[in-house]
Symmetry: C2
Subunit: 402 residues, 2 copies
């Protein structure tokens, strides 16, 4: 008898009909002879509704009280879903974060999991019950409720799968799996049967919003077999594992991130320590920098360009302007009409010419590249946003033939 952990997100349990659909999937898994632990998120807009209620009363509530408030959302989901399974005549019990002993640190709003007490879940599984667990939440050492932040329910599912040594952790979403590119941008995108943790991590951080990085990192660390699949279409999704049988020469996917901005610092003195001064200023303002490019400017000066998250653009400009004297530059040029398009593949490092194929595809499509960044398993280029979809399609055609 295998233990399977399943996780359904907020849109999958948004209303009574969807909850019944989810209950159907759970019931099939249970009736096939598996032990089943299910992690649920808050229904559809519940979290936003609760945040709105809070904002009406206090625009800056303590995170401790916000977690107390928000954790009710998942509790509502698990009890409603339990009722749906009861209606089908199945043995089921819902459990909150504190009831399963989901211990976290005290970083309210973004708590880290410190451990999962498996006793309660095990004793319920021994009674042949389906166990529904409230995702996204835990308790700290003071017995106060914490929430895990973005991707929290995925992380809950992976943590339970790791602690209980589950055979499989299935993350149900509104897409059928991980694709070679976003199907909304690249109509010919192909669903992958398998992908490695590292590839998934690169794809997630590059803007393919299927799985949250944190849950993938945890799955990789504890060797949890993940599967991303659809809660609407009953067919196999994409397995995420340590090693896949993928052909070495192929890339696994193409991702686009348009939530970025490029900042160019023009007319810097060409002397040591300039880059250090710039990025210390940004680090002090808690701004993460992605691609960095340094080029030679006119008259013994140099220019440094880099990308930041679009939401950090104004803060970055402000921080740099405030330190204009100390850094020493003539002007800043800012653009947020740029996108990062990346190819990811674990086999990339072993196969020369992958990057060249990408550049060739862009050249054939007459798309200009502003910046380039590479790692062991990815190649990213910065291009104009209005060319980004075309670029993805051209690259996809080059690598996958469609």
């Amino acid at each position: 008898m295998a233990l399977i952990v399943q996780k359904f997100g907020g849109s999958s349990v948004a209303d009574a009909e969807k909850i019944r659909r989810v209950a159907g999937i759970i019931a099939d898994t249970y009736n096939a002879g598996n032990d089943v632990v299910v992690v649920l998120s808050a229904q559809g807009d519940t979290t936003d509704d609760l945040l709105e209620k809070a904002a009406e009363i206090n625009p800056r509530p303590s995170k401790r009280e916000l977690d107390m408030l928000l954790s009710t959302g998942e509790q509502i989901s698990i009890s409603l879903c339990a009722m749906a399974l009861e209606k089908m005549g199945l043995p089921v019990i819902s459990l909150t974060g504190w009831q399963i002993g989901m211990k976290t640190d005290s970083n309210y709003g973004n708590a880290k999991i410190k451990g999962v007490g498996c006793e309660r879940i095990k004793s319920e599984l021994d009674k042949k019950r389906i166990v529904l667990v409230a995702g996204f939440q835990g308790i700290n050492k003071y017995d106060d409720i914490t929430t895990l932040g973005r991707g929290g329910s995925d992380t809950t599912a992976v943590a339970i799968a790791a602690a209980m040594d589950a055979e499989l952790c299935q993350i149900f979403t509104d897409v059928e799996g991980v694709f070679t590119a976003d199907p909304r941008r690249v109509p010919n995108a192909i669903k992958l049967d398998e992908i490695t943790f590292d590839e998934m991590l690169e794809l997630a951080s590059l803007g393919a919003q299927v799985l949250h990085n944190r849950s993938v990192e945890m799955a990789k660390r504890y060797g949890v077999n993940l599967e991303v699949l659809s809660s609407y279409v009953r067919k196999p999704g994409t397995k995420v594992k340590e090693v896949t049988k993928m052909e070495e020469t192929k890339i696994s996917g193409i991702a686009k991130d348009s939530d970025i901005a490029r900042i160019a610092i023009v007319g810097l003195r060409d002397e040591p320590g300039i880059a250090f001064k710039i990025f210390r200023v940004l680090a002090k303002s808690n701004i993460n920098v992605d691609i960095i490019l340094q080029s030679i400017g006119r008259d013994n000066t140099k220019d440094i360009s880099f990308t930041v998250a679009k939401t950090d653009k104004d803060a970055a400009v402000e921080a740099l302007q405030a330190n204009k004297e100390a850094i020493g530059f003539s002007s800043l040029s800012v653009s947020d009409k740029v996108s990062k398009v990346s190819i990811v593949g674990a086999g990339m490092i072993k196969s020369s010419g992958i990057a060249v194929m990408m550049f060739e595809a862009l050249y054939d499509a007459n798309i200009n590249i502003h910046m380039i960044s590479t790692s062991e398993i990815k190649v990213s280029v910065l291009i104009d946003t209005d060319m980004a979809d075309l670029a993805m399609q051209a690259i996809h055609k080059k690598f996958f033939g469609v």
Copy 2:
């Protein structure tokens, strides 16, 4: 430094503005130098909304899952109210039923309190924090969430006041206190400064919906000083205590209950055991009987009339018809157009003529009495519902002069 426990019901915390008003009352109590523990109910219609969500999925969910669902309502209230107090710059912490160690039996939906762990509340009060507690909820020995049923939040407040030996337990409602009669029925009704537990118990069970009986019984048992007061008008309410300074000859209040039905069993044989047979049948169907009247009928028969809650009427008739042979009667006559009007007063037993004054008031108003029932501290009469308000006014005028 006195400890004051305050309880606010669902209508008092229904929206952001009302929560701010409640926060103002709490802040004043705290700023006056008191330790303050506050028990809150779920906001306005939250419980109904949750029940509706449940009904959509499963018309008969398990009580265990229903309690899991409903307990979120109070958790939302306490966190929102905590945010309002934070906004005022006050130290505050919200705590759920399980966090304060509110231990109950496992009778989901109507659990009885077995004990309150005071450690967490005490340690928070020691930190000079206002403590907000989710009413209506507890946990059983399995660490599963239970709810306390009707009047649950009042009971939570009284239980905490008893366990913590509070100086006063204030129950805030939408009325200014306990009145000599329902002000909506008797415009001249007078607010009482004090009332005894026993009088309050009679008034509550007679349909004066100010305090739930269960909380009054607990307050009486543990000697908790109660005060019923308004969350809208800032003035003293009605103190409920063991002994009051009330004048002995006066009654303390008049109550009306229209949610009743009268059932008359006609043509019973005049022999021993008939009453036993009738009320055993009703008891087996879990039907509570209130006033009972036996009268002599025609031709060596007798009639027995009694009142039941309106909601039990059909079940009572069904049970009696099913046992018509065994009991032996000719017909049933049922009316739900009757009301019970009662006067309550601890001094009643010591003062002859109180019941006579009531009957005289009704006679003067030309109101016919169907049944009479008396106890040590009350006299109840059954009259036609369309005369009930007139009856209350006439009785009020007789006893209170207005």
